[in-house]
Point group: C4
Chain length 257, copies 4
């Protein structure tokens, strides 16, 4: 895994390995609403044991290094993983999306350059769909590049329609829009989420649909643990708020009395 010398420009792909893959599907999960896409993609990497083969650096990512638990720094980046099975898979995840409009286009096109060489025909992008309220059982909405896909994926219980909103912003949208121009097909799976907190619950629902589509079996216990932890935090915050309100009311009463 010798690291090659590299000058970072708007999109610098640094390979640690060049795996042989047969028309791999691309699965994208980068930071976004509720962090749904990133949580789902990282969980999938862990569960199937996907292996990293490339890092993507960019002058459009923040000028920043992260520090791990041992005090070791790593430059912020995106990562490409692969997995070989009945169907070959490339997974894109990472620390950030590009900060600028232009940077997002350039980064997405650099990913398309990579997967085009591998013969990718199909892209799945994962994300959250903010609804502003807590969601007990998150529904998964879809958007696709072609009508045939809409027909196909409706069978998996996804809804395809105009959200009446701003469409899909960021890599999840651009990979479909720009991929279509290169003859690729794609679908975006969006899990309902409040939009206020990271949402492993929504990520699980998105992954359930995706793995069913791909015919892959994975466990969800780690996502469920994360969801329970978030739930505990949320309940704790609510109870603090309730105490504060009650205290506030009793303060006022004593003031009046």
């Amino acid at each position: 895994m010798a690291r090659k010398k590299v000058r970072v420009n708007e999109a610098s792909v640094v390979y640690s390995e060049k795996p042989e893959l047969k028309n791999p599907v691309l699965i994208e999960g980068l930071p976004g609403v509720g962090n749904v896409g990133k949580l789902a993609a990282e969980h999938l990497v862990d569960e199937i044991g996907a292996k990293k083969f490339a890092d993507i650096y960019s002058t459009d990512f923040p000028p920043q290094v992260f520090i791990d638990h041992d005090g070791i720094v790593h430059l912020v980046k995106n990562e490409l993983y692969y997995w070989k099975g009945d169907i070959d898979i490339i997974i894109l995840t990472g620390d950030y999306q590009g900060l600028s409009t232009k940077g997002q286009y350039i980064l997405t096109q650099s990913v398309l350059d990579v997967i085009e060489k591998y013969g990718t025909k199909m892209i799945y992008t994962l994300g959250g769909y903010g609804v502003g309220v807590d969601v007990e059982k998150p529904h998964v909405t879809g958007a696709a590049t072609h009508k045939t896909l809409v027909k196909k994926y409706k069978k998996y219980g996804m809804t395809f329609k105009d959200e009446g909103g701003g469409g899909i912003v960021g890599a999840s949208g651009l990979l479909l829009g720009l991929g279509k121009m290169r003859g690729m097909k794609g679908v975006c799976l969006m899990g309902e989420t409040s939009g206020y907190m990271v949402d492993p619950n929504s990520a699980r629902e998105v992954l359930k649909k995706l793995t069913k589509i791909l015919g892959i079996k994975i466990g969800f216990s780690k996502l469920e643990e994360k969801a329970e932890e978030i739930d505990r935090i949320a309940r704790h915050i609510r109870s603090l708020e309730k105490s504060a309100m009650e205290k506030d009311t009793s303060d006022k009463l004593s003031y009046i009395g």
Copy 2:
């Protein structure tokens, strides 16, 4: 209409057809104040049955896809339509104007590159002119590249003068300013509008002047329906505000009493 493989840069023109046109005039209507220009351009496309011949993509548009009623995505873009008649016409409309200062110059110059090849001599840009109050019967103000045009178009009931404001910002201004450098003439038709809502009423007035100038006959019923709908919404909002105010007053009275 085979879509060609394309890498999107600051201004990527993707032709679906290369029509033969004779010195077509350019008509521009992109999003702006009251959406007057876009409403007018789109109505004109529909009424005369203009045909799309090119899409313009740009890294300066938001990194975004829109989702249509069937759940199909399309990458945000501008569009060029053509129509052949006694006078040939190219119409420019689209989802967005460029987000950055530099991007607006580059996009406008890419449009000028297209129309220069077709031998365009005359440009009409359409827009709204915000006056901050509701306008019953919107007046159409003009601004032109040459004095001869001012003289000519005053006959159509347009006013040409310094608005005392900031001039014309965006494609409607740049197409005239940058087109003039290439020997083209042009005029901007600006419909009065409050600036608070989309304004099909103002768009109709602008289009009436334009079609009279071009000697084209079109219907306006669809714009009028849209105007009535906007009017209904505005009246509804006003009645809600009135109720809220009355309720507010009665609340206060009961509080005092």
Copy 3:
């Protein structure tokens, strides 16, 4: 004055004439604090009858055209004027400074490219120095590229010292800093000004120093008329504020009584 076809990039100099000049000094006055520099430069152009020989367009200026009193548009730009006398002069003024950091460097370097060809050895930049309060008799502060200049110009009653502030921002600073790298000398003349209004009074004081330095005689009556007009407006605003305050006080009294 045939206008040549031009593609506007970050700094596009379009010549209408190529005058023969002998080591002209450059005088810069662009929009800034109190508009002191621009007012001074434009007044100088008018008084000595300087002639325009080039326009500078830039994708870093706002994407905008201005409309004149006759309804004719012109793309926003900077302008270069020349005047031939005992000493040859080039004057830089215009509608805007570059909007971005990088754009300001590029525009300034494009001006230096022009004057370097003409053999310019000396640059005078004009600007306002905001002090936050009204100034009856504005003092002129200087800053220079070389110690010999400080010594020379102190004789004209200018002060040279650290302002304890942020230095000089924009073209007035960059022309000196970047010009020095090309072996040019320069001085910035900064007129005290409140910073709240355009200040023809401060512009006159700056021009008085500059014309004395250059050995040029000009009239100041137009600047004085503008200064009186601004003064009238300021007095009117103050009287309105006074009335409003008095009314406000009497309202309160009647409310209490």
Copy 4:
């Protein structure tokens, strides 16, 4: 020290001298939290008598000149100093860090290009670590590119761990992250600081560690004088705040009474 003619682009290194150095270590201290890094680097330059050999200008620095006590301007820049001893040293300090994300990457890579030619193997970056409260005796935290360095520098009393924060932003982080890609090693020394004021006290602690690591002896009296001055100012501000609060309370009492 003849200044060469130069066109400033995103990173323009202008040499005044090309010293011969043997695998110099790089020490970076640019403006940042508490100005700790810049204070430390400048103090080191003064104490060891390091000599400037290059200026770095950039279109990503503010378009600005500073004015010194004599009224002389200098364009904002970064500076490279060298010192030859048992170990050769290059020190990077300056007026600003790059303003844009992309600019920071380009500037950092231009510095790496310089030191790579000199055979640099090791980078020390200096900065402040904001903790939001006053710190009597600032601790020095570290972050490193390699585990061997963590082990080595822990012996000097530095802590290496995940801060739970956003990592290291700016040149102090990028030099490590991008330097690692070129086979260089590096460590960031971060002094605790409140983050509210410039902190010579924290800078001294950082420098004490660094000079011990490098085996260099320097005095700290100037930094201590600065620290005492800052301390006097802080005490004065606190006493003013106390008076204001007491006055405020007595005002209220007299108002009630």
